[in-house]
């Protein structure tokens, strides 16, 4: 592990921490614009986090220690996820510790903990949210895994850095299986980040909530951590998608100059991605909860289809 490696690792984590709320702000801004409103400032998420950290935390009297620690666990899971996804450079010392499958495992771990925390206080909506979250999860995880497998079948590797290096720096080729995988990935990341059409991030009606219903009980710093974790998750998904489907511009190992060059490229790609997300959210309507398994099942099957096409066309 070189000093440059350690540096780029730290840089990646710091950048994730700082950029994640910005991405959320960007998406919100575009959603407002697409609703013909003028939007809140880009930095609004930071302001909210700052305020929440300052407030006094209010907690249900029968909340257990698990409930108090869950936000920290979830937050650090998401941070680690951002750390192993090659955003700027593929020279990440942490990445051998966890490959694509472990990435899915990380998301699953976070999901299990937030669901358990939601069930802990024992309110009606908390457990309802937990059930729905697990419902989304048990279809979204395999779909995500299959999407990642499409890439790793092409590159014969499940280590994310190896995948990106392969895709980015071998001579350009078109992989039809990635088309299917891309569609599947978009659907999965909409569901996983609690976006329309699966879940509405700013609904007030408890009966239609999924993610919100689970955190209804949280306040102040714990809520702030959860919100931050949510935007980290969005960031992680966006970066994973960009790394898989538009890997160009990610710095190769041992080249500090490319590292500097990679940042603007990433920002540009993220900006486009955020805009598209807002567009999708504006154009689609939220679906009934029991349409969600159908939606995610479709994503799962498309990803499997991608694998099959991969085997058929024998690319890579």
């Amino acid at each position: 592990m070189s000093w440059l490696g350690a540096f780029s690792q730290l840089l990646a984590m710091l950048m994730a921490l700082l950029l994640a709320p910005l991405l959320t702000g960007w998406v919100n801004q575009w959603r407002a614009r697409l609703q013909n409103k003028s939007a809140p400032g880009l930095l609004q998420p930071y302001r909210m986090l700052h305020k929440l950290f300052n407030k006094e935390s209010v907690m249900a009297d029968r909340a257990s220690p698990l409930y108090r620690t869950a936000p920290y666990i979830i937050f650090s899971c998401m941070l680690l996820a951002c750390a192993i996804i090659p955003t700027l450079s593929t020279d990440l010392p942490l990445s051998p510790a966890a490959d694509a499958i472990a990435l899915v495992g990380l998301f699953a771990l976070a999901r299990v903990f937030i669901s358990l925390a939601a069930m802990d206080v024992g309110t009606a909506f908390g457990s309802l949210g937990a059930r729905r979250e697990m419902l989304v999860g048990f279809l979204a995880e395999p779909a995500l895994l299959m999407v990642l497998f499409c890439a790793s079948m092409i590159t014969r590797s499940t280590s994310l850095t190896a995948i990106v290096e392969n895709l980015a720096h071998r001579e350009f080729a078109i992989y039809p299986s990635l088309l299917l995988a891309g569609v599947a990935f978009t659907m999965v990341s909409l569901a996983e980040n609690a976006r329309v059409p699966v879940d509405n991030p700013d609904t007030h009606l408890e009966l239609t909530m999924i993610h919100e219903a689970m955190i209804l009980e949280y306040s102040a710093r714990h809520l702030a951590l959860l919100e931050w974790a949510a935007s980290l998750k969005l960031f992680a998904y966006s970066c994973a998608g960009l790394a898989l489907f538009f890997p160009w511009g990610v710095a190769e190992a041992h080249s500090p100059l490319a590292l500097l060059l990679a940042l603007p490229v990433l920002l540009f790609k993220l900006a486009i991605g955020g805009f598209l997300l807002a567009l999708i959210e504006t154009l689609s309507a939220k679906m009934r909860v029991f349409r969600v398994p159908e939606f995610l099942g479709t994503a799962f099957l498309l990803a499997v289809l991608g694998l099959l096409v991969n085997v058929l066309l024998g690319v890579g």
């Binding site: 935390s57 899971c77 051998p96 510790a97 499958i101 299990v112 048990f138």
Partner: protein, 674 residues
Amino acid sequence: MTPFLHPTTWVHLDWVLVVVVAWLLIGVLGVAALRRFRFVAVVLFPMGAFFSVLLLAVSLSAVFSAPETAVLPLGLPQLPFHLRLDSLSAFFLVLIGGVSAGVSTFAAGYFRQGEGTPPGLICLEYHVFLASIALVVMADDAYLFMVVWETMALSSFFLVVANHRIPEIRQAGYVYMLVAHIGALGILLCFGLLQANTGDYTFANMRQQHLTPFWGSVAFVLAVFGFGAKAGILPLHAWLPEAHPAAPSPFSALMSGVMLKIALYGILRVSFDLLQEHIWWWGVLLMGLGLVTALFGVVFSTVQVEMKRLLAYSSIENIGLICTGFGLSLLFLAYDMKALSALALTAAMYHMLAHAFFKSLLFCSTGAVMHATGERSLGKLGGLMRYMPWVAWPTLIGVLACAGLPPFGGFIAEWLLLQSFLFTTGVPSSFLDMLVPVMAALIALIAALSGYTMVKYFGVIFLGQPREENLAHAHDAGPWERLGMVWLVLGCVILGLMPSQVIALIDPTTNLLAGAGLAHTLADSGWLLVPVSIERASYAPAIFLLGVLASMGLAFLLVRKLYHGRLRRVPPWDCGFPWQTVRMQDTAEGFGQPIRQIFEPFFRMKRQLPGAFDAQPSYKVTVEDPLWYALYLPVARLVERVSRIVGLLQQGRIAVYLMYSFVTLIVVLLVVKR
């Protein structure tokens, strides 16, 4: 024949025999102190646990040493018992020792006065069971194997029906006995084929025989049938969800954690070791059976409303996954891809170890919960985390491991299995090539569903509010129970954090069975788990855990430093509806409902909905196993009809019976004369 008289020259096998004898002696002592249950609990069971640890230590070193054989001058004349301790047996002895140590310790605190069978007798059955499984994995001829196999079946049967006062439990034990015997029949026939008319039933001889593909396949199918019946592979799973809840919890733990693995040992021994040639469709058959079993098990476990049934179905799922690993490895072996075969086999055996530990841990926790609350239905539990933390936190570890989440054992097993699937291209058959991704997808789906199940299990039992008043007086686990559970937790953690070391333990076995191992790739990668090569895939649970913990601590410190830790406790936010009751939490049925809706064709459901004008509207839904009605009951009816016909012979008059034997005599004489 090893010299028993000079302990200095003893080899591992002798030590294992010492443990076996010790267990039998403990059993006898138990009978001697039939009703003195305090003595049985705090003296005999801990002694058993001590010898389990001894067994663990011995077999850990035996894994790496050369095979040892012994011939005991017991059994029938001219038919002495052959014993053999190779790395495969040693691996399973490690499993037995490790798990039984924890479970026996737990059992020391578990058994109470006045439950059906007297404690002394339970102690006897328990330790006879342990001794018999230890001998099963060491048996080196069909006779000894069948003898100890049946001993295992019988002792476990008696343990299942420990509370024989309750009719349902007797029923369950009966079903279990029945399936066990049908299975044993299959095994017997299989051995009959394997010895190929040489009349020599030692395994050594069987290894020499080269069966034709047809008879080899028949033997393989018989073995899968026979051992599968004991392991709970579809469609012979029906006894499992009946017997596990019936048995006392420590023994459910042993059954699920150890006995099922012994059945899988049988499959391994026959299909990898005794049968020399392998045919590709054996692997496909095993994989198909495994996947179907796993999917069936996990879908059913999500909709269960009774703790131990839920765990039992989840065991079916895990057995299915392990069989899938066997099948894949067998397929590769048939195509002579040794490295990949070793990888798949390693994944399966890792899964066996992991499942043995976390599942027995979970069964122990259900035992503790049932003692504390007297309740086994999820619908009447809840909120126990506040009253019994010593049970809740270990269970949380077990749950995470069972859900296949990093950084625990279950995840590593699934990780390896997925790896071996992922790099399966270039199997000569195009159809298989197409099937492989689909199978990988199924495995991913099953793993995710098991996460769903485990969240339901932990959330409904330990979190939320108590659904009944009396739960508030639930007492925490006693010292022995805590000790046992902590031991099992340690097992889970070690399996999760030290994969390279554990795989080094599995390596001799894969070398024995698949002719290859992962050790050489692992040796130079230290804490990093690298099955094939660093470019392809790597995973380091220790670093993983460290990363999570470090960022957790950092986040905590920063929040406290930069801001504050003020906290105010208030009543929970009830969405402005002050009349919320505990009954408004999600019930077990409610939590399983989405799965019930999605996988509707799997179930045989009876739903009773309230009408518009009912005075007391009631909602009831029962989910049943369609196979029970489609397969078991018809067979039962057939048997009944046949036996009624046979029953016609019975007249109840001596003269008639004498006439039967007379006629038989005449017929025999005629036959002999010709």
